[in-house]
Symmetry: C2
Subunit: 116 residues, 2 copies
């Protein structure tokens, strides 16, 4: 099978440019690591290879997480949300999830701190 | 102050319709509860009231989580990701986070199950 299962494809609610949001969460700790985008092919490749595979809007290409950095994502579980526009991936992240070298993409910029 | 802090506003990378993605995560357990959208006003209201406030693309209006259902979100922390297009909210969710009555919006549809 070279294409996304039609039974899955028909449940997706895509942006005008054909994408759904994908949240990667570390298995065990529950940390939210990053958010990226997937088109049907990226999702198909993620489901069949268990390697986190996304679509870059800026570059217009697919990318496999860690392919250049070595910071791969092994995908344990993929869930689709109630309205079909967001995926949740439960992963084992190798090394830093963020291209900046941070552990997660949400480490650097706190807009609102917890109440003291 | 009635508007989003310009120092924050200039760090946001919005969709063509002016929105950023917002992931709500339960404090303590780390569960990912839901993903929704925010414009500048929704973010400003969230930061100043600590009540999860979003923008509905389909209805074209702001909504405060739990305003009709009672399933409110108290926001402890807000973080912006490395490329400025996604927010992570650490919240205390009252009751079900999903409008279907499920605990999270990711409970119902498993596309890929963990390896057995």
């Amino acid at each position: 099978m070279n294409e996304l299962d039609p039974a899955v494809a028909e449940r997706l609610k895509r942006t005008p440019d054909g994408l759904v949001a994908a949240i990667a969460q570390q298995r065990g700790t529950g940390e939210v690591l990053m958010m990226a985008w997937m088109d049907d092919e990226a999702l198909h490749r993620t489901l069949t290879t268990r390697k986190g595979t996304y679509y870059s809007r800026s570059r217009g290409t697919h990318w496999v997480k860690g392919e250049t950095s070595g910071h791969t994502q092994h995908v344990h579980e993929v869930r689709l949300d109630c309205d079909g526009d967001t995926l949740l991936l439960v992963v084992d992240q190798e090394g830093a999830a963020c291209h900046t070298g941070d552990h997660t993409c949400f480490d650097a910029d706190v807009l609102l701190a917890p109440e003291s």
